[in-house]
């Protein structure tokens, strides 16, 4: 098999706080293959956003990458020279943030905000006067592709002159303007109305097909994952607890946390079915016992769980961090 587009191995990210070292990401390993859509699921604080801030090279003090490796197209990104990283960001790996309202600069026109990416990375743009014209054309093309009507006329508008859905489209257009190989979409739907959520996800899916890029969809919504992702990785307390093909993970979860997440989702067709929230709370990431991090909340806890549990493959393409992973539920 060819090398994956993005390969994260044993990534560890910690934040120095007054209370102690917070290990926000603790040994995360995952691959993103060419052209696939990988779903990253986890609650707030599970480390899903921090992992990909690490991929983008955007961990700032007091945060620090403590160890592990991030390889993109075979190239090591941990410790990469800042200038080289800058050229990579926005061109090869792009990211959209949760809320377009706060992610677009209110003081600059959207034209400025999309053109600057194109001009910063446009090695293939012509030089001189034609450069700006070519960049404008690309900006308009991309805005049209994401479904912004009359794109050319909107270049001079400010973000506040766009509706919520259009702002989200604009942010996606900016992220995709240099046609990256990988798009990291950090909770692309959380800040949107339900009706617009579907539009934005459909848009990402269709552009993914058009441009042939890989997508990492960070979300806490298993429904979104089921609909759009080829594979899924579930994060809990800074570690991946389960990963595998989406359909298999959803129909046959092998980690009690994944199972718990699935049980806590209301199903519209069976509203009479009771919802089972997971009891207890996410552990404090400062003083963690060596054993399974889900242990205090786990309905199936046993003695072996007090020892470190390895994240291990138990079937083709599937892995989990649970001593009971081999046994189907």
């Amino acid at each position: 098999m060819t090398e994956p587009l993005l390969s994260i191995a044993d990534l560890r990210v910690a934040f120095a706080t007054r209370q102690g070292l917070v290990r926000a990401v603790d040994g995360v390993s995952l691959d993103v293959r060419e052209g696939e859509c990988l779903g990253i699921v986890g609650e707030s604080g599970s480390g899903k956003s921090v992992t990909f801030a690490g991929v983008m090279g955007l961990i700032r003090p007091p945060g620090r990458i403590e160890g592990g490796s991030i390889r993109f197209e075979g190239r090591e990104l941990v410790g990469l020279d800042p200038q080289a990283y800058r050229r990579l960001r926005g061109r090869d790996i792009a990211m959209t943030l949760q809320d377009a309202q706060t992610s677009l600069n209110p003081a600059l026109t959207v034209g400025t905000q999309i053109l600057e990416v194109l001009l910063a990375h446009g090695d293939d743009l012509p030089s001189g006067r034609a450069r700006l014209r070519a960049a404008r054309q690309r900006a308009v093309d991309m805005m049209t592709l994401v479904g912004i009507p009359a794109a050319a006329r909107r270049l001079g508008d400010y973000p506040h002159q766009f509706s919520g859905g259009m702002r989200q489209r604009m942010m996606i257009a900016i992220a995709l303007s240099c046609r990256p190989k990988l798009l990291i979409a950090d909770e692309p739907t959380t800040a949107l109305d339900v009706t617009i959520q579907a539009q934005v996800l459909e848009l990402i899916a269709s552009i993914r097909a058009t441009l042939g890029m890989s997508v990492v969809l960070i979300t806490h919504d298993l429904g979104v994952v089921a609909e759009y992702c080829d594979r899924v990785a579930v994060l809990y307390a800074g570690q991946i607890v389960e990963s595998g093909p989406t359909a298999q993970v959803i129909s046959d979860p092998r980690h009690p946390y994944t199972a718990g997440l699935l049980r806590s989702v209301p199903v519209l067709s069976h509203l009479d079915r009771p919802i089972h929230p997971i009891e207890g709370q996410v552990p404090d990431l400062i003083d963690l016992p060596p054993g399974c991090r889900f242990l205090p909340r786990c309905p199936m806890a046993r003695t072996a769980c007090h020892n470190p549990v390895p994240f291990h493959a138990f079937a083709e393409g599937r892995a989990a961090r649970c001593v009971l992973a081999e046994a189907p539920r």
């Binding site: 955007l58 792009a94 706060t102 992610s103 600069n105 209110p106 990416v117």
Partner: protein, 335 residues
């Protein structure tokens, strides 16, 4: 569209300026002491002579009548005779005004060029040595009284090191031909580099003294708003776009962070006007501030009245300019 809004905003100034005029007029009328009596105080004047002067000055008429006359004259730039100079107040002020504007502008420039870069650097390297130096320095800047700091500068640079002149706005030998009254501009217009150098050397210390407290406050405001802005999602997004550090700081961050700085700068320009009186006195600066101080001592009421009105109008206009600048920086408040 924008010019209509601009016009509306300008029309709003009319009632404000009218209010200011009423207040200035009333304050001067209610101040104890009869100008006519003060003018004739040392001349053993008879009550008839005082009454005659009061009549000449219009002081025997009713307050509303005097107000209408005052406003009528004021809009034509007529503020009566300066009692001390025996010349029209407007002419005396016009003579002194350029020096004050020049000094204030220099102080404002000094403050902005100190405060904005320092504020940005302090915020970016929060907790670093430069940040701490700038923060402590700004505390000094706000706390040092202008008259004391000015004298200190004079002692160091003019008296001991003899690097800079002690007082005045220019040396007689370097006086450029007076076209505008602004020494720096006149020097450039006349192509007199010696005059320009001399004028700038005179300008340096008073401008620093006058601008320092403002620089200190603006530095703190810029630092605080920069810290706030750097936490915003749009900065993270700009970084994720692979933009250079300079572009992110100078365009994405600063354009948002300058909003509070502009507002405070406009308010502080008011205190610049007050600071002028102290600094001009310390440095023997031939400006309006010193003229007003001298006029207060000799109870030159017409001049003080006109100057106070001028200060008030300036203050209102500066805030108007700040509002306009605000709409440039912040597209959301564009009408």
């Amino acid at each position: 569209m924008r010019s209509v809004a601009l016009l509306q905003r300008l029309l709003h100034l009319v009632p404000v300026l009218f209010g200011v005029t009423v207040i200035v007029f009333l304050m001067m009328s209610l101040t104890p002491g009869d100008p006519a009596e003060i003018m004739l105080a040392n001349q053993n004047a008879t009550p008839e002579q005082v009454a005659s002067l009061r009549h000449d000055m219009g002081l025997d008429r009713s307050l509303p009548t005097r107000f209408v006359t005052f406003v009528g004259h004021a809009v034509q730039g007529e503020f009566g005779l300066s009692l001390f100079h025996r010349r029209p107040v407007a002419a005396v002020i016009a003579e002194r005004l350029p020096a004050t504007i020049e000094l204030s502008a220099a102080a404002l420039l000094f403050a902005l060029f100190m405060a904005i870069p320092l504020g940005v650097v302090a915020a970016v390297h929060r907790g670093g040595i430069l940040d701490r130096l700038a923060t402590v320095g700004s505390l000094f800047g706000v706390s040092l009284p202008g008259f004391w700091f000015g004298i200190l500068l004079l002692l160091a640079f003019a008296v001991n090191l003899r690097l800079l002149p002690v007082s005045g706005a220019i040396d007689f030998a370097h006086q450029p031909p007076g076209l505008t009254g602004f020494l720096v501009i006149d020097s450039v217009l006349a192509g007199r580099m010696d005059s320009l150098g001399n004028a700038l050397a005179h300008l340096l210390l008073p401008a620093i003294t006058l601008g320092l407290p403002m620089a200190a406050i603006l530095m703190r405001v810029t630092r605080a708003s920069m810290l706030e802005v750097l936490r915003q999602d749009y900065i993270t997004f700009a970084e994720a776009k692979g933009l250079g550090r300079t572009r992110i700081l100078a365009l994405h961050a600063l354009k948002n962070a300058l909003l509070p700085t502009v507002t405070v700068a406009a308010i502080e320009t008011g205190s610049l006007l007050g600071g002028n009186m102290v600094v001009e006195t310390v440095f023997g600066w031939p400006g309006l501030g010193r003229l007003v101080v001298e006029s207060i001592f000799v109870r030159n009421y017409p001049l003080v009245q006109a100057a106070v009105l001028l200060y008030a109008v300036t203050y209102v206009l500066v805030n108007f300019v700040a509002d306009m600048l605000y709409t440039v920086l912040n597209p959301r408040v564009r009408m």
